[in-house]
């Protein structure tokens, strides 16, 4: 009974969070961001089924997202012209089924091998489909895409989905269901064997499983959920274009999953939330946000190979041993100069980019023409950098201290 509560409580928390978010932030902008997050979460989780769970590095996952979305928009159009009549709440399912169909077809030949061969096929297929989408105008609508209208379906308990907030609650429901099912998938034989095949495809074959079939099933499931995300996209934006199935979108989902943390189920959710926020908020303050995103990404790959989720999980041991507190002070000591250093770096970058006028930064007004400003910034940056370097060993020691095993298990540790 206790374990059941422990198992279910995160899910109830997740559901409550999804439902209550708009109670705290109800501006048009906030709801717009929540909708983006909802789509991104499902999409990133579906990507993780491939790379994180199944060991398949795909450069073309947007294909299933996009194809699902295209069919969803076409379904909306059919509803609008009364060829079909069903509530639009099922649209993500339409997207999912088409994503599944596409994945079944493409997966039938691409999942034979993992590794580089799979990655390259996904790249080739992705480029092919993205390019054909511009050629086959009648289905894909060329570069302008196709657009529908979500308000023509039969009302769902009186809701006609005029407002984005109504779509949010629908999306939240779908996100919850999709997350739950994707999580449950990891707990099934097929899901577990996907991990096994990721780790060691050869051995999997000697315990009775065809690595190809195992990959194929994960691939198809990932295609389905990517299609669901595409369907949600169609409902939210009421249109879809070629860019939603091209390499840029594929790259973005890779970024999300990786930055969030591939090895953890929750990782892609974190990645989706962080990247959506960066995309929508950061881009407001600076034109250079893509540069910062690139830097963040490269630094993450270098220093946090297991992503943000991995970083958080690193503290699990210290936490269970009640030593998290001893880390707090060293973190502050290193964190403050490090943050100052980063802030000054950003100031330098922005200052060199700003055109003509002065840069307003954190309440300061910095002038590009003043040599003094530059000199001061550079000195401050150097000082902050040295301070960071100086305090880093302390942090490292505290870290080792907090994680030091007094060897309670009795047996030798590897």
């Amino acid at each position: 009974m206790k374990t059941l509560v422990k198992k279910i409580s995160p899910w109830i928390g997740y559901l409550l969070l999804l439902l209550l978010l708009p109670q705290f932030f109800d501006s048009v902008l906030a709801v717009s961001i929540f909708n983006q997050m909802a789509i991104a979460i499902v999409f990133a989780l579906s990507y993780n089924m491939l790379l994180g769970q199944g060991g398949m590095l795909s450069f073309g996952h947007a294909v299933y997202f996009g194809l699902g979305g295209f069919l969803a928009v076409h379904a909306l159009i059919l509803i609008e012209f009364e060829t079909l009549t069903f509530s639009i709440i099922y649209i993500p399912l339409v997207g999912g089924l088409f994503g599944l169909l596409a994945a079944l077809f493409i997966g039938s030949f691409s999942t034979r091998k993992a590794g580089t061969v799979f990655a390259m096929i996904s790249l080739g297929v992705g480029e092919l489909i993205a390019a054909s989408s511009l050629i086959f105008v009648s289905f894909f609508g060329g570069e302008a895409g196709v657009s529908g209208d979500r308000t023509y379906g039969p009302p769902f308990f009186g809701v006609e989905f005029f407002q984005n907030i109504e779509i949010y609650y629908l999306a939240a429901a779908w996100v919850f269901i999709a997350t739950l099912f994707m999580y449950l998938f990891t707990q099934t034989p097929a899901g577990r064997m996907a991990n096994a095949v990721r780790d060691n495809p050869e051995r999997a074959e000697f315990i009775g499983y065809s690595a190809r079939w195992v990959r194929f099933i994960s691939f198809a499931a990932a295609g389905f959920f990517a299609g669901v995300a595409g369907g949600l996209f169609a409902l939210n934006y009421e249109f879809i274009t070629e860019e939603n199935l091209n390499a840029v979108t594929s790259g973005r989902v890779l970024l999300m999953a990786y930055i969030g943390g591939l090895g953890y189920f929750i990782g892609p959710i974190i990645g989706a939330v962080v990247l959506t926020l960066m995309n929508s908020l950061l881009s407001n303050y600076t034109e250079l946000w893509m540069l910062y995103l690139g830097i963040l990404f490269v630094l993450t790959v270098m220093f946090l190979p297991r992503g943000f989720a991995g970083f958080i999980m690193m503290h699990q041991l210290a936490w269970t041993r009640g030593k998290l507190k001893s880390l707090a002070l060293p973190y502050v000591k290193t964190g403050v100069p490090a943050t100052v250093f980063l802030a000054i770096c950003v100031a330098l970058i922005e200052l060199s980019h700003v055109e003509g006028e002065a840069l307003h930064y954190l309440g300061l007004e910095l002038s590009q023409d003043s040599g003094l400003t530059w000199a001061l910034l550079l000195i401050a940056a150097t000082a902050a950098f040295i301070a960071t370097r100086k305090t880093l060993p302390q942090l490292r020691n505290a870290w080792i201290e907090a994680n030091h095993m007094e060897d309670s298990s009795g047996e030798a540790d590897p």
């Binding site: 969070l17 189920f265 939330v273």
Partner: protein
């Protein structure tokens, strides 16, 4: 799934709360009139977008804010929104503009984006009566926006593709030396409009002129245009017509020039933002462009003063799109006339408006389809007789042919539906 999910939103809530504070701080007393500018400000297409933004901001300050504002002292504030030239981002930024209570949206780059924005605006206006948004299209030339898909809330301040082609094909048709024409374009809607319309018009205007090639290439994918140029050469064409823009335009023109082919190239977008500098001496007298608003010779003192003031403030930039200034000026005129900043009132005032631009052009906003009519010019890329060059390269556009607004009137299939 051991991590408590409840921790996740904590940080998110702070960020959003900070944002809410920030937004509250922005909307205060003595209300400025806020106008959204949604165009690419980062990414590959950023140069055109930022250049447009600079011009709009400059025009607002120079023409109005520095002179005490409009409507009895209200300032115009241009709020930039970066859409990265992506339809999806455009929607996101549009929602953000709504969230900031902005009612007027400027947008120009890419017809695909304009179409999506147009759809979004139409849907929003239908679903939120009383909170309508006005779309000011200063550059997207897809004809359908003022034809089949026209709307009361959309106004176009650039001549659309067919209007420009009419002028261009007239000009080519009048040149008896041109016996054959090669059409090449990007494989997307604008490229197709150019190709099909040219063929139709040429068949009418010069049945003897042969279209010796009609080629599409994938947009932004071609590394080297030489193979295409080989085909142009072997076709023996006397002229080339293309709707290419950006890197595709530069590469195509360079390849043609490099292969020693000295035939005129008729274009829409072969100037400014680095293109003029790159073509330089090699493209002299060969590159032709159809556009509004003469750049050289400068027709009026007002325009000269404007350009000089702009150059003084932004030495590395040019006044590439005077139509942005026209759009803003006509918008302000409509506000002054209606004494309102409500989109519905502005739109009604804009309909049928006649306006004299800084260049001295007579412009007319046709009520039937919300399409602006003004004179169109054909200019040539040269360094002779250039007062205002492009990219500080000494080269620029000199107008060699002008068509008066009454001569480029064109029919519309628009059936305007106005709100009661």
């Amino acid at each position: 799934m051991k991590m408590p999910l409840g921790k996740l939103p904590e940080s998110l809530r702070y960020i959003l709360a900070a944002l809410a504070l920030l937004m509250a701080g922005q909307s205060q007393a003595q209300e400025p009139i806020r106008i959204a500018f949604i165009d690419p400000l980062s990414g590959t297409f950023a140069s055109v977008g930022t250049s447009g933004l600079t011009q709009l901001q400059f025009a607002a300050d120079y023409l109005y804010n520095d002179k005490g504002g409009i409507l009895g002292g209200r300032m115009i504030e241009i709020v930039p929104f970066d859409n990265k030239q992506s339809p999806t981002e455009t929607q996101i930024q549009f929602r953000r503009a709504i969230s900031e209570d902005i009612r007027i949206v400027f947008q120009g780059n890419s017809s695909a984006v304009a179409n999506t924005l147009h759809d979004a605006v139409t849907r929003h206006n239908r679903r939120n009566p009383g909170q309508e948004i006005l779309q000011i299209n200063y550059s997207a030339v897809d004809p359908i926006l003022t034809n089949e898909e026209c709307s009361f809330w959309h106004f176009r301040f650039d001549s659309h593709a067919i209007m420009k082609l009419e002028v261009l094909t007239d000009f080519i048709a009048a040149n008896e030396e041109i016996k054959s024409l090669y059409v090449i374009g990007q494989d997307y809607s604008f490229g197709h409009v150019v190709s099909e319309t040219t063929e139709q018009m040429m068949a009418q205007k010069r049945p003897d002129l042969e279209i010796v090639g009609n080629e599409f290439h994938p947009i932004g994918q071609v590394k080297d245009f030489t193979p295409y140029v080989t085909k142009i050469v072997s076709s023996g064409a006397d002229a080339v017509l293309t709707g290419n823009f950006g890197a595709d335009m530069v590469s195509l023109a360079r390849s043609i020039i490099d292969s020693g082919l000295e035939i005129p190239i008729y274009t829409f977008y072969a100037a400014y933002d680095g293109i003029t500098a790159t073509l330089g001496e090699d493209g002299k007298d060969q590159i032709h462009l159809v556009h509004n608003e003469t750049a050289n010779p400068i027709p009026t003192e007002e325009r000269r003063a404007f350009n000089l003031a702009f150059k003084a403030e932004h030495p590395d930039r040019d006044v590439t799109q005077p139509r942005i200034v026209n759009a803003l000026s006509m918008l302000v005129k409509a506000m002054e006339e209606s004494q309102s900043t409500e989109p519905a009132a502005i739109a009604s005032a804009l309909e049928d408006m006649r306006f004299t631009t800084l260049t001295g052009d007579q412009a007319w906003m046709r009520a039937d389809d919300h399409q602006l009519f003004q004179s169109l010019h054909i200019s040539v890329h040269t360094d002779e007789g250039i007062e205002f060059d492009a990219d500080n390269s000494g080269f620029g556009l000199r107008t060699i042919h002008t068509v008066a607004p009454e001569d480029n009137l064109i029919e519309t299939s628009c059936r305007m539906r106005r709100p009661r």
